[in-house]
C-alpha cells in the first residue's frame, strides 16, 4: 500500500492542454473518488497514474517513487476498466492468473492467490467459465478479481459500474466498499455519477474542465462547495441558482421582488451575485417570512419525496418536500431557507463569496 501524490500534473495533446495542473495527495489506504462531467479530464488523470498516458509535465508519485517514466507493469498498480477488458478466450481462472504467470510466480502461488480472490468475490463456482458466459455483474467481479490477485499498491477504477443496470450498480457499490474495507488498499475511483462519489469516497476530487475544483470529504463538499460548479454538480436534484444583487447587510435582492437573507459572506450593495440554495433546504413558509413567491409549474412525485418546480419571474427553483403534499400546478407558493444554508457565488468566476 502506498500514498499517491500529484504535483502540478498537466496533460496536453499537441498545443491543447486538457489538464491544467492538478495537485492532490491521496493518503495510504484512502478511497478517493475523482468525479466530474464527461470530458473534464478525470479518466485522463487516472490513466496517467496507470501509465497509459504520458504525463506532459508535473509529477505523479506512488509511495516515494516518482512514476512518470515507469512502465505500467513497474508501477505496482491494478486497473479495473469500464468495459471490463477481460481476455475473451481465457477462462475466469486464467484471466485472474495471467498477470501472475507473466511475473513468473509458481503454480502453487498463483493457485493460492486466485482461490483467495475468488473466495473474496464469490467467484469460485465460475472459475472454469469464459467471460462471455457471465453476466455483467459477474464480469465486473472478475475484473476486480484480476486486480486484487496481484495485491498491488494502488487500485485504479475507471467508471467500473457504468455498464451495469441501476440495481446491480447499487449492489456492486456495496461490494466495492466491502472489498476496500477488507483489503484497505489505496484506491482511485473515477466516475461521473455523484451518487457513487458521495457513497464511496473517503474524499473526492471534483474536476471540471481539466481542473480540480475542490478536494474534500463528501459532506465537506456537499455542505461547503468551493465553487458554483461544485455546488451544482454535487447533490441531486442540483442546487437552485438565482441571480441577485447585494441589498445591504445579509440581504440579496432577486430580480422579481424577492429578498434572500444569508448568514455567511460580505456583499456590497449593488454587487451582482448568484444565490445558491439546495432544493432540500427550501421550505414552504407563510408570506411574511418568505424569500420569494412563485407559481407552481410542475410537480414530480418521486414516492418518498415530491419535487415542486416554482417559477419566480424568469428564474426557476425546485423545492424538495417530503411526500404528502396536496399542491396543484398554478398555485402560489412562498418559500424560504435557513440563512446559513444560502450560498453566494461570483457570477463571473463562479467562486464562492465568503
Amino acid at each position: 500500500m502506498a500514498k499517491v501524490t500529484f504535483r502540478n500534473v498537466r496533460k496536453s495533446y499537441g498545443s491543447l492542454e486538457v489538464i491544467h495542473g492538478v495537485d492532490a495527495e491521496v493518503a495510504d489506504g484512502e478511497f478517493i473518488v475523482i468525479v466530474g462531467p464527461s470530458g473534464c479530464g478525470k479518466s485522463t488523470l487516472l490513466r496517467m497514474v496507470a501509465g497509459l498516458e504520458v504525463i506532459t509535465s508535473g509529477e505523479i508519485a506512488i509511495g516515494d517513487t516518482v512514476v512518470n517514466r515507469l512502465e505500467p507493469k513497474d508501477r505496482d498498480i491494478a486497473m479495473v476498466f469500464q468495459n471490463y477488458a477481460l481476455y475473451p478466450h481465457m477462462s475466469v481462472y486464467d484471466n485472474m492468473a495471467y498477470g501472475l504467470r507473466i511475473r513468473g510466480k509458481s503454480k502453487s502461488e498463483i493457485d493460492a492467490a486466485v482461490q483467495r480472490a475468488a473466495g473474496i468475490l464469490e467467484l469460485a463456482p465460475l472459475l472454469a467459465r469464459k467471460p462471455r458466459e457471465l453476466s455483467g455483474g459477474q464480469r465486473q467481479r472478475v475484473a476486480m478479481g484480476r486486480a486484487i490477485v496481484r495485491e498491488p499498491k494502488v487500485f485504479l477504477f475507471d467508471e467500473p459500474l457504468s455498464n451495469l443496470d441501476a440495481k446491480l450498480r447499487v449492489q456492486m457499490r456495496f461490494e466495492i466498499q466491502k472489498l476496500h474495507r477488507k483489503l484497505g488498499t489505496t484506491s482511485l475511483y473515477v466516475t461521473h455519477d455523484q451518487v457513487e462519489a458521495m457513497t464511496l469516497a473517503h474524499r473526492m476530487i471534483v474536476m471540471n474542465a481539466g481542473r480540480a475544483e475542490q478536494v474534500g470529504s463528501p459532506m465537506e463538499v456537499y455542505e461547503n462547495p468551493a465553487t458554483r460548479f461544485v455546488a451544482g454538480f454535487i447533490g441531486s436534484p442540483s442546487m437552485n441558482f438565482l441571480a441577485g444583487k447585494g441589498a445591504g447587510a445579509g440581504k440579496v435582492a432577486l430580480g422579481h421582488g424577492g429578498i434572500v437573507r444569508f448568514a455567511e459572506g460580505q456583499v456590497e450593495t449593488g454587487r451582482e451575485v448568484v444565490v445558491g440554495i439546495r432544493p432540500e433546504h427550501l421550505e414552504v413558509v407563510d408570506p411574511a417570512n418568505a424569500f420569494f413567491a412563485g407559481t407552481v409549474e410542475l410537480i414530480e412525485q418521486l414516492g418518498a419525496d415530491t419535487l415542486i418546480h416554482v417559477a419566480h419571474g424568469a428564474d426557476a427553483a425546485v423545492v424538495r418536500r417530503p411526500h404528502g403534499d396536496s399542491l396543484e400546478t398554478g398555485a402560489e407558493l412562498h418559500v424560504a431557507a435557513d440563512p446559513s444554508r444560502v450560498y453566494l457565488f461570483d457570477p463571473q468566476s463562479g467562486a464562492r463569496i465568503r
Binding site: 496507470a50 497509459l52 486497473m79 468495459n83 477488458a85 478466450h89 495471467y98
Partner: protein, 282 residues
C-alpha cells in the same frame, strides 16, 4: 419471413435445383469420362454412365502419368501442388499477421505510408508484375525450385488488410489490461491477439490454400522440369494436340484428383467458417 405460398416454394426449389444441375453436371461428366476408355469417350454421344476402367485409369495417372505430352506421375504433381499451396497459405498468414500487428499496435515513423503502400499493391494483380518478377526469380536461380514457386506469391496485401481491420476491432482496453498485467508486445501477440484471430486465420487459410492450389500462370513460367509440375500445370501439359491425340480419360482422372484437396480443405474447415461468423469473441 413466414410465408405459405406453395407455388413460390416450388418455383424457388426449381430454380435452385436447376442451378445445382448446371454446376454439377460438368463435374459428373468429368467423373464419367475418367472411368471410360479413350475409344468410348470419343464416341458421339459420349456415354453418360460410368464405365469399368476407374481403377485402371486412376492408378495409371497416379503412378505413371499419361503416355503423350507430359509423362510425370500425378502423385508427384499432387505433392508439388500440396507443398506449394501449404507454403503459400501458411507463409501469407504468418507474414501478414505480423505486419498488421506492427501497423496496428506500434507507432513508428511512416506507419501510415507503409500501410498505404501495402494497400496500393492490392490493386496490382500478379499478371502486371509477372515479367519483372520472373526476371528476379530467374536471376536468383529460383526457377524449378519450391522457393521459386512460392516466394513471389507469399506477400499478401489482402490478408494484411483483413488482419488490420480485425485487429482494429479488438478493444484497446485489452492491450492496456495486458500492459498493466505486465505483458510485453510479444506476449500480448502470442497470448491475446493470436488466439482471438483463430477463426479469421482459419478462413484465410482456406482462401489462400485454394488460391495457391489453383495457381496457373506463375507455375507455368517458373517450372520446366516435369518433376516440378503442379497438378494444374500437369493437366495443361497432358493436352498436346487435336481431340484424338489426347488421352482424355487420364486427363479427366487428373482433373478429378486436382479437385479433391481443395474440396477436403473447404469441407473440413467449414465448421470454423461458421464459428467465426456466429460467435464474436470480443
Amino acid at each position: 419471413m413466414v410465408e405459405n405460398r406453395p407455388w413460390v416454394t416450388f418455383l424457388s426449389h426449381a430454380v435452385l435445383i436447376a442451378g445445382v444441375v448446371v454446376v454439377a453436371f460438368p463435374l459428373y461428366v468429368t467423373f464419367v469420362a475418367s472411368t471410360l476408355t479413350l475409344d468410348q469417350i470419343v464416341q458421339v454421344p459420349m456415354p453418360l454412365l460410368p464405365g469399368d476402367h476407374l481403377i485402371e485409369n486412376y492408378s495409371q495417372v497416379l503412378t505413371a502419368g499419361s503416355t503423350k505430352g507430359s509423362s510425370a506421375a500425378v502423385s508427384t504433381m499432387l505433392m508439388n501442388s500440396l507443398i506449394m499451396a501449404l507454403t503459400i497459405a501458411i507463409g501469407k498468414i504468418a507474414i501478414s499477421v505480423i505486419a498488421s500487428f506492427a501497423i496496428v499496435y506500434f507507432r513508428f515513423p511512416l506507419r501510415h505510408f507503409f500501410f498505404w503502400m501495402i494497400f496500393v499493391t492490392l490493386m496490382l494483380p500478379v499478371e502486371v508484375r509477372i515479367i519483372p518478377t520472373f526476371k528476379v526469380a530467374s536471376d536468383l536461380g529460383l526457377l524449378d525450385t519450391y522457393a521459386g514457386l512460392t516466394l513471389p506469391l507469399i506477400a499478401s496485401a489482402t490478408a494484411t488488410f483483413l488482419f488490420r481491420q480485425f485487429f482494429l476491432t479488438i478493444p484497446e482496453e485489452l492491450a492496456e489490461a495486458a500492459r498493466i498485467d505486465g505483458a510485453g508486445p510479444i506476449r500480448f501477440f502470442l497470448d491475446v491477439v493470436l488466439p482471438l484471430s483463430k477463426t479469421i486465420i482459419a478462413a484465410l487459410f482456406v482462401i489462400q490454400f485454394i488460391y495457391g492450389w489453383n495457381q496457373y500462370l506463375w507455375p507455368l513460367l517458373v517450372t520446366s522440369q516435369e518433376s516440378m509440375y503442379t497438378t494444374v500445370i500437369g493437366i495443361r501439359r497432358m493436352i498436346v494436340g487435336g481431340d484424338a491425340a489426347n488421352e482424355w480419360q487420364l486427363i479427366m482422372a487428373t482433373a478429378m484428383l486436382a479437385l479433391l484437396p481443395p474440396a477436403v480443405v473447404v469441407i473440413t474447415m467449414q465448421r470454423w467458417f461458421v464459428k467465426g461468423l456466429v460467435e464474436t469473441e470480443k
